[in-house]
């Protein structure tokens, strides 16, 4: 795709003239025509303008003759395409065509338990991997962390290298990051940093991919970068910026809405949960049954572990139907037990047609506002016996949209809706996603 985009732009590039500056030979790395340390669109524009030019007579095009044959043609373009968006410090200034290694680091979204379920293994897109909000999030992992689901706080990072077996190292910008070759920190699998840089990574001579596991081994939140470099050079080939989670998001389905991979598109809570997971939040999704009538259970344990052991201080909880009732129960328990947990805020809660969840046969409206929630979003409709067994949520005081939430049956898109479809409206899900994003930090 990258090559195609370059090729299209390449055709149009003939119209431009060559850049004008003078010197002897290529003064920078090959393909880095402006010498700024990276091979990017600016270089491409210059490269396109140099096509068919004589690199010996047009000095500014000296760095565009990548194979050193004194012509700037499609062979040079092919080499340029491989180097685009990377920096290769191993291209000789003489531009012989022997390009060095290229590296792509890919970080994944957080694990849950022994794998990724109820999420799929989700790579962070290249364009987001250095974004401090939307990029890869990571849970703080300290000795006291109870890990109710087992060790799952390390972030998977794959390192793809071309050509296979190229020598590479990692650099971190602070010692909060540790790197392992095993997901559960098996003794002997930690990669040692000396002055924040590793030696050559264990990449076999024919190996093109190495899987690493990154740990945030500090109690201090913030961001930290991990870069791939040649062992003996400080040139950055690729970079990932991690943000340590300071919040946790809990999504609860309705009665008999178990989590699944892939997600059931009619399970609106989980569709929202996945959307937030993909933009850098630490999301945990559960069947509402994991929350007991007193708020106890697996969801509570995970939130408590995050607050007590991982410095998380913001909590978001939302649910549909009985999941709405469980949102109340879980919030209530967290609020009652604050003294033993530490300082945190329940920054966001939401009901979608919330039904009380004292039991599996509870059919009462959940109209109590979650205790101490800073922002509560409420959507509801009106049940009828034959359509949905009279199941419905209802107005909740001091909710959003003000004053008591949105009766979706007053909207053009939600008129005559039933309990069983209200969580699936794109309008409902979009408002949840935007309000979560604006209510809590990552």
């Amino acid at each position: 795709m990258r090559t195609l985009a370059l090729l299209l732009a390449f055709i149009g590039g003939f119209a431009l003239g060559p850049p004008v500056y003078a010197g002897d030979g290529c003064p920078f790395q090959c393909a880095d025509l402006d010498g700024d340390g990276s091979i990017d669109h600016t270089d491409y524009e210059s490269f396109a303008a140099c096509l068919s030019e004589d690199p010996q007579s047009v000095q500014a095009c000296a760095c565009a003759d990548l194979d050193g044959d004194n012509r700037i043609d499609l062979r040079d373009f092919a080499l340029f395409a491989r180097l685009f968006q990377n920096v290769s410090d191993e291209v000789s200034p003489g531009c012989t065509g022997a390009i060095g290694s290229t590296v792509n680091l890919t970080a994944y979204r957080p694990q849950h338990g022994t794998g990724y379920a109820p999420f799929t293994r989700t790579p962070v897109p290249d364009q987001l991997e250095t974004d401090s909000l939307l990029g890869p999030g990571i849970r703080m992992n300290q000795p006291g962390d109870a890990d109710p689901q087992g060790e799952d706080d390390l972030i998977e990072v794959t390192l793809d290298v071309d050509p296979p077996g190229a020598a590479l190292a990692l650099r971190r910008d602070q010692d909060t990051l540790s790197v392992w070759t095993s997901r559960t920190k098996t003794p002997g699998t930690e990669i040692v940093f000396v002055d924040d840089k590793t030696g050559s990574l264990p990449i076999g001579s024919t190996q093109s991919t190495l899987t690493l596991w990154v740990e945030w081994a500090s109690a201090v939140p913030g961001t930290a970068a991990l870069t791939a470099e040649p062992p003996d050079s400080p040139v950055v080939k690729d970079e990932i910026l991690f943000h340590a989670f300071e919040s946790i998001v809990v999504a609860l389905g309705g009665e008999n809405q178990p989590t699944s991979v892939p997600v059931d598109p009619n399970h609106g809570s989980f569709v929202v949960g996945i959307a937030m997971y993909e933009v850098g939040f630490d999301v945990h999704m559960y069947d509402e049954d994991v929350v007991g009538p007193d708020g106890s259970g697996a969801a509570y344990d995970v939130v408590v572990d995050a607050i007590v052991n991982r410095q998380v201080d913001e909590v978001a909880i939302f649910g549909y139907s009985h999941g709405g009732g469980s949102t109340y129960d879980l919030t209530d328990r967290l609020d009652i037990n604050r003294a033993g947990l530490g300082l945190f805020s329940i920054s966001y809660t939401s009901y979608v047609d919330g039904v009380g969840n004292n039991s599996d046969v509870d059919t009462s409206m959940e109209t109590r506002r979650p205790p101490s929630s800073a922002f509560h979003l409420n959507h509801y409709q009106h049940g009828t016996l034959f359509e949905d067994f009279f199941l419905d949520g209802g107005p909740v005081a001091n909710s959003n949209p003000p004053p008591t939430g949105l009766d979706v049956e007053t909207t053009p898109w939600g008129a005559s809706s039933t309990h069983f479809e209200v969580d699936d409206f794109i309008e409902v899900r979009s408002l949840m996603e935007s309000t979560i994003d604006s209510s809590i930090s990552r």
Binding site: N256, P293, D294, S321, N358, F389, L391
Partner: protein, 286 residues
């Protein structure tokens, strides 16, 4: 509604029932496979068919007729209806089918006692889904929240009657109470058992108080979350040797509920208990 419409609707419902019967028999019906083999209550295929149709049909008129059929089931035998609804819900795969039991209870204003008594014969089932469904249904009558312990008063009356009349205590109900809240279960059993001697009562009251206070201190941050008070260890040791099985049952139950109290030695000893429920609870807690 005219007679022709009514007749036509009844015929249509009857046809649907017959059709579903055929499908059920051909396919062996998953519910029959899963629940009937492990439940002391047999499936009533007529009722199951009506429930299934009601929760899947898109025909609003048919739903009304099916509701009327359920009303007739209720009038014929409320207990059987509740049991069949519970079997149905235990194998349900959608929000709609899961919520049918609650809708029927609400619509027909079925009392707590009626539901509990109907479920009692099913509570010793070893089918996990059915056990979960029964537990999830009983919670409705326990009125538990983060700030309120469960209310077992209805169970206490049932158990007290069994004690007074010298009948077997419903083991499934006792097990359920200890799973929900070991402390409240112990106190409920103490009252239901007709225990009258102050010293005997105080021994149990004090032990439960010591354990509960320790939980309270940990919950609210007065002591470390994983700390164990020596007084708690002593009281659990004492209760593990008590003469009443339902007092000994408290020990593995509370250790399962709060694993920081777990003592492998005590649990090992209780796996050899003369009461099979205590021994099993100890194995479950290990």
């Amino acid at each position: 509604m005219n007679l022709n419409n009514t007749t036509h609707r009844k015929m249509r419902i009857a046809w649907l029932i017959y059709a579903c019967f055929a499908v059920c028999f051909v396919s062996g019906w998953a519910i029959a496979d899963e629940a009937q083999s492990k439940s002391p209550v047999a499936l009533n295929l007529e009722m199951q068919t009506v429930f299934k149709e009601l929760t899947t049909t898109e025909d609003a008129a048919a739903r009304e007729g099916l509701w009327n059929q359920i009303r007739q089931f209720d009038r014929a035998d409320r207990s059987v209806l509740i049991q069949q609804l519970t079997l149905f819900a235990s194998e349900s795969t959608s929000t709609r089918s899961s919520m049918l039991t609650g809708a029927v209870i609400k619509q027909f204003e079925i009392s707590d006692t009626d539901v509990i008594n109907a479920l009692l014969p099913m509570m010793d089932t070893d089918a996990p889904k059915l056990r979960k469904q029964i537990k999830g249904t009983l919670a409705e009558f326990e009125d538990q929240s983060a700030s309120r312990p469960p209310d077992f008063s209805t169970y206490r009356e049932i158990i007290a009657a069994a004690f007074r009349e010298g009948r077997d205590i419903p083991p499934g109900l006792v097990k359920h109470m200890y799973e929900v809240d070991p402390g409240i279960a112990l106190l409920t059993m103490m009252r239901a058992s007709q225990m009258r001697t102050p010293d005997d009562l105080q021994e149990i009251l004090w032990a439960e108080h010591v354990v509960s206070e320790s939980v309270w201190k940990k919950t609210h941050g007065f002591v470390e979350r994983d700390s164990v008070d020596q007084d708690v260890t002593d009281e659990l040791q004492r209760l593990a040797g008590h003469g009443q099985w339902w007092v000994r049952l408290y020990v593995p139950a509370v250790m399962k509920h709060d694993p920081t109290f777990k003592s492998e030695n005590l649990l090992d000893a209780l796996t050899q208990d003369s009461n099979t429920d205590v021994a099993q609870a100890a194995r479950d807690a290990q």
